[in-house]
Symmetry: D2
Subunit: 447 residues, 4 copies
Amino acid sequence: MKTYPKHYCGIFGIKDMPRAAEYAAYGLHAIQHRGQESAGIASTNGDKFFEHKGMGLVLRIFDNRILSGLEGQTAIGHNRYATTGKSELKNAQPLSVQCKRGGIALAHNGNLTNTKALRTELENHGVAFQTTTDSEIMLALLAQSDKPLDQAILDMMSKVEGAYSLVIMTETALIAVRDPHGFRPLSLGTLDGNPVIASETCAFDIIGARFEREVEPGEIVIFESNNVHTQRVANLPQRTLCAFEKVYFDRPDSKIDGQSVYGIRFAFGERLAKEYPIQGDIVVPILDGGKYAALGYAKASGIQLVEAFVRNHYEHRSFIQPNQSERDRTAEFKLNLIPELVRGKRVIIIDDSIVRGTTCKSRIKKVREAGAHEVHVLVSCPPHIHPCYYGIDFPDQSKLIAANNTQDEIRKKLDLDSLGYLSMEGFMEVLGQGHCLACWNGNYPTV
Amino acid sequence: MKTYPKHYCGIFGIKDMPRAAEYAAYGLHAIQHRGQESAGIASTNGDKFFEHKGMGLVLRIFDNRILSGLEGQTAIGHNRYATTGKSELKNAQPLSVQCKRGGIALAHNGNLTNTKALRTELENHGVAFQTTTDSEIMLALLAQSDKPLDQAILDMMSKVEGAYSLVIMTETALIAVRDPHGFRPLSLGTLDGNPVIASETCAFDIIGARFEREVEPGEIVIFESNNVHTQRVANLPQRTLCAFEKVYFDRPDSKIDGQSVYGIRFAFGERLAKEYPIQGDIVVPILDGGKYAALGYAKASGIQLVEAFVRNHYEHRSFIQPNQSERDRTAEFKLNLIPELVRGKRVIIIDDSIVRGTTCKSRIKKVREAGAHEVHVLVSCPPHIHPCYYGIDFPDQSKLIAANNTQDEIRKKLDLDSLGYLSMEGFMEVLGQGHCLACWNGNYPTV
Amino acid sequence: MKTYPKHYCGIFGIKDMPRAAEYAAYGLHAIQHRGQESAGIASTNGDKFFEHKGMGLVLRIFDNRILSGLEGQTAIGHNRYATTGKSELKNAQPLSVQCKRGGIALAHNGNLTNTKALRTELENHGVAFQTTTDSEIMLALLAQSDKPLDQAILDMMSKVEGAYSLVIMTETALIAVRDPHGFRPLSLGTLDGNPVIASETCAFDIIGARFEREVEPGEIVIFESNNVHTQRVANLPQRTLCAFEKVYFDRPDSKIDGQSVYGIRFAFGERLAKEYPIQGDIVVPILDGGKYAALGYAKASGIQLVEAFVRNHYEHRSFIQPNQSERDRTAEFKLNLIPELVRGKRVIIIDDSIVRGTTCKSRIKKVREAGAHEVHVLVSCPPHIHPCYYGIDFPDQSKLIAANNTQDEIRKKLDLDSLGYLSMEGFMEVLGQGHCLACWNGNYPTV
Amino acid sequence: MKTYPKHYCGIFGIKDMPRAAEYAAYGLHAIQHRGQESAGIASTNGDKFFEHKGMGLVLRIFDNRILSGLEGQTAIGHNRYATTGKSELKNAQPLSVQCKRGGIALAHNGNLTNTKALRTELENHGVAFQTTTDSEIMLALLAQSDKPLDQAILDMMSKVEGAYSLVIMTETALIAVRDPHGFRPLSLGTLDGNPVIASETCAFDIIGARFEREVEPGEIVIFESNNVHTQRVANLPQRTLCAFEKVYFDRPDSKIDGQSVYGIRFAFGERLAKEYPIQGDIVVPILDGGKYAALGYAKASGIQLVEAFVRNHYEHRSFIQPNQSERDRTAEFKLNLIPELVRGKRVIIIDDSIVRGTTCKSRIKKVREAGAHEVHVLVSCPPHIHPCYYGIDFPDQSKLIAANNTQDEIRKKLDLDSLGYLSMEGFMEVLGQGHCLACWNGNYPTV
């Protein structure tokens, strides 16, 4: 099972609204956390396609002049994450083509697992690829099919494997597609009665749209003229929604598959309090990821929440060419400790994950240096020991601290009085059934 | 009392460190919240001056190539705030001149109140001004004096009135100056034994420098060769540190004049709990300003803290030309409400100030629409009813809601069950003596 | 016969030279006159492809850092002309694809005349087009073929109609292709014995390469390993080289199909002197196009050449949004008349063409106002009355002055004492056989 | 006699015209050849000053939006030349100040020779300089004076030495000033009856203004309200207009001090024909500088003019960091030889000057390699052997080929059959009296 470069992404679509591209820009801004490398918007006035893409943040790429040029009442958009790999404008999305069906534009969140085989097969049938994106493969499959679009999409879904939530636009239709496992989230909303699609519901809030429902795993929803046409692949596998989205990645104000992200993280914290009833003086969250779990832990334990780490709200990076040690150094810039808040205290730090352990270690060191009496770390999910093939960009397994050390070794390396990960039982009790847990337990749903 | 355009600012200085300009860039980044319009760094290698300024954020203006060109082991820097007035690169700081003393570069935080009189007097003596900055006035005074630099600075301090914290650089010296009232903060630190100066102590933390002490109101500290020379103006007035810096403006992890900003805000919240013992279900903070007061209120009252407003951590602005209604609209983008957290609840919102009231109003509206049972707002300082002439950029008095409405009128306009400002007694009890309270009570220290 | 947007272009290729991309940049700079809208370079190190494209002039798009990233010893490049149509980076060339053959990059000068039919046919076979360029059609044809590359190119040539000179690059080969009519020029050179390809020979001069020979109409030249393999399509039509290239478009220091552009233009002037033996006092050239014909006219007639129009060597355009009247106005900025040189004189102006007549008219007006005694205009080719479908971007026929007026009407509109176009006989006598004359006589070779 | 960095420059002023700044932009564009490093425009609406400066060409720096912001009906502008020294935006002009007179903006062409002494004196009087420009010195002198502006300018002129043509703007006046020697040109024109000032008359042509007269050496012309007030310094020295401007620097379509630049250069060529009656076959000009002299030589000698060197009309520079050898290499890019035009011929090259000799040498080498029978070079002025202190940026004397070699040594180094410089007698006969010849004969007018 070989894979191509992974990426997080955010997608958005809207139909039948004046200045559709402007709504797309605000929607993408709301889900900017899903990808900061590049962004793009394609729109249509029912006749022509318009498109603009750029590197960087949505607010840098789009302005009034550019949005005015993106004509029409239907638009789709995409945010792309900066992986360590090659970052190029030519891989930015949405990707638009002209084919015998007319125009098709597509934006993709997720990662296919049979990319290489599909590309080889398509190349052997004469396809020339201009990018290295999954999207181009899916567009090639759609362009070759002689069937109606809904059937062509179903055929495509029978060929591609892996994780994909899609928004697709033609001159006349806006389409939402979610893979049969439902790895990546995708929601439907309405604005003045017109359809809106987004990776996360916070993109609805920013434009005043109303959340209607999730796109179901394996479902295709086609908005065309004033009709909605929905269809679902046969022989659905068990749904395996990505659990890590909810632990770490999604915005806390989003609702994903009926669950409040805030509520889940709060419950992780309550559950941690039950599993690890530490005699601490203060509960200290790390960033937003840990905050809601810390609120839950504080409430359940009765121990006071103290925001001892203060966030610098401006962008964080080095002024010089970043190498790993520089990246570690600047990661710390994001959070600054108020030493007197932890001095002499038994400190319980709540974090959402420990990946490589380097940033965590330097933060613990600062807490120690500030004179904390005890330092405990609780993590709101089980330890990460496997790579993700469905679109989350973890480092190599060789760099995952939990894949290469026992829990006690990690505790010692991080210089902790105690270290606790949320148990798999506790984790699943909060999340419920139907999640992909591969990065924790190695059970890959598509293999 | 006429005044020129006001501005917040952040200043930084460092001496005897290799790559001094790079430290200055990190220091300015740490105090980016004090000014986002423009930034600049001047450095010296003991012989020549080097300088770079630009519009926008520190991380956008400086890169490795530019920092490499800022040679030498001494550097000063400046962040400037975007006021509504004219924003021009020519007013960016530090400002550097060549005069009979050699080179002098200066960065200024604060606002002089006798600018116009001083400019007229200097112009009558033949001075030609190239900018509209206070800094140029101070440099003109220094350039004209035949006395040694410390005496020249003292003479200058006897002429200028108002608020000023300064870092000054010559080919051989780094100098910190604070006005006799001490309006704006200024701290001294050391890095490997070498001097560092900054508006806020969080700039020391980011580069690993150690906080040593405040620059005292009316004090001049000159670092030259390996000596420190300090001097203080005679006939010092009572110190009147800016209280609003601590309420709203300073980073919570800074220590200002011996006080932890975090601690003060927490105490405001505890005091609010005493003054306003509301029967609420949840305490909801607004942004960072309200967060620490909310933590204090929650602890004192025993009412649960709920982070019902979620922050979008990316820059906030409109894609189209901003007008006031657009600015109000995008102000909301910054915070998104999680409706189910307030539904059916008696909500106590803690905010740090209500200036015009428009943003506050739209947030309360959302809480109401989400089905809150009651909505109360508590403000962690007294009502603002006067302008500031010392460097804080409030809107016209005509737009200050508390200057034009009774407290009950404001409550009705904002559609609240109750509205409470921290009492002046409570406010002063937390802050202690020696603060400027002019924006609340109209007592201007320099008149 | 329908056609897609037309364009001039310049192409370049080089193989087996270190820093191949840098040579490509200089080569493109030398033929910058063939296209100023966008430029691009693709290179290969034998394994991977590298690529950079941008809008504007070569010297603005490429710098040392970018050229360093274009690794490898083989590179091709392309300049694209700014037509009035949509100018987009996505249509910039070279265009690179990955297909079953591996990588192929292609740069095209010319214009296909059966684009629409080919696109429809390919779309019906399942091809999805991402651009509106001819290049993508040719790449699609190559990608679908199962034959060896040379045969695949021959097959492609049997399908496409119109004008095309191509440079093609694979991981191992550099290829030159010229259409069977030979509309657009293409030359082969060597640099240190290694192959170089360019639209015009002046691109060889700038890098010190040696001109070897023209690529023959209908010829494919493949440089692979250290071999050269050449092949030619069967059933070649009569060659119809573009005559207007030599009149107006090519650089005078280029040699095109064995003819010196300078020499041809000089001979046009000599021939004009024979056809129009005007009793004038001075011969005045318009820009470079008229200069060499004017030198020929002056020599043949014995009348003195006077450079009464002085060129502003800097870029010419309006500071405000250009409309047609503004464009006419700024067209004049390019040339400034020295009035005393024409005062009281019988002036013979030599120009290379009169297209819409507006710029010409305003120049003649200035000569009249300066007090010229007589004003005559001689044009170094016959009158333009037909559109070009092979890559030269003339305005609509409705705007071609000679298509809508008799010669005497034009003379009156331009306020001339006499107007003379070079006769078709004279024109062909200078040029020799084998040229496309469609824009003058409407005989389109491909119909 | 010590001097600061020298520079060419172009200046422009206009009064009482709507969109004055736009006229200034076109005027500066017309004299772009006088300076390409930076450009700036300052305007006034009678109350406030507006200003914009940037690095690079006028057409890059200004656009419609920026010009719209430069309000008012009076504007002055400046082009600055890229010397090898430090190029910084802070040294760009015009320079504007506020002083007891109100606002003053100034743009300067030339170079003062007593800069250092004046700066020291002014610094001792308390002046703080922000730039290293001459302009700031002159503004400081004006700002200090209590006399009316015309008298203050006369006083300033009595203190500064060297070359200066100035345009000065106040809220109500536009002023032209020329130094008593008249080193640099300055002309007055009218547009719709309103005053225009420019370094060269070609700036009048581009905006349709009419040339009125030269500003006389030592003259001040003040346009205020609807009056013109003119005054002249007493005890005028002999006028010493810069002769090299006319040889090389001015545009051929300009008239300078009553002389047509075209006419002068043509006459240089005629005179060369008399002094050097070479038995050649063709006359070949080098660039524009040599062209008009070549036309004169060709006419006087009856030898045919052949434009064997072809100019690349696009900007010339290296893609990589330029060093001297790279600069030499790219200097050649500007001109490309058509070899067959010189093959077997006795070639007479006409150039305007030989400074270092390197570019000249490489061009001669190409002519030899092309098979020329004989190569002669004639230079349209005497040999350069002295530096200029009045604003022309020659290299160090050590690098001037004629300062370090006999004429015959130069001939040998350049591999010529003969080399001829225009005799000083011939040169002066064409130019007439009243020129500065210091770079040829070392007689500096101000010493």
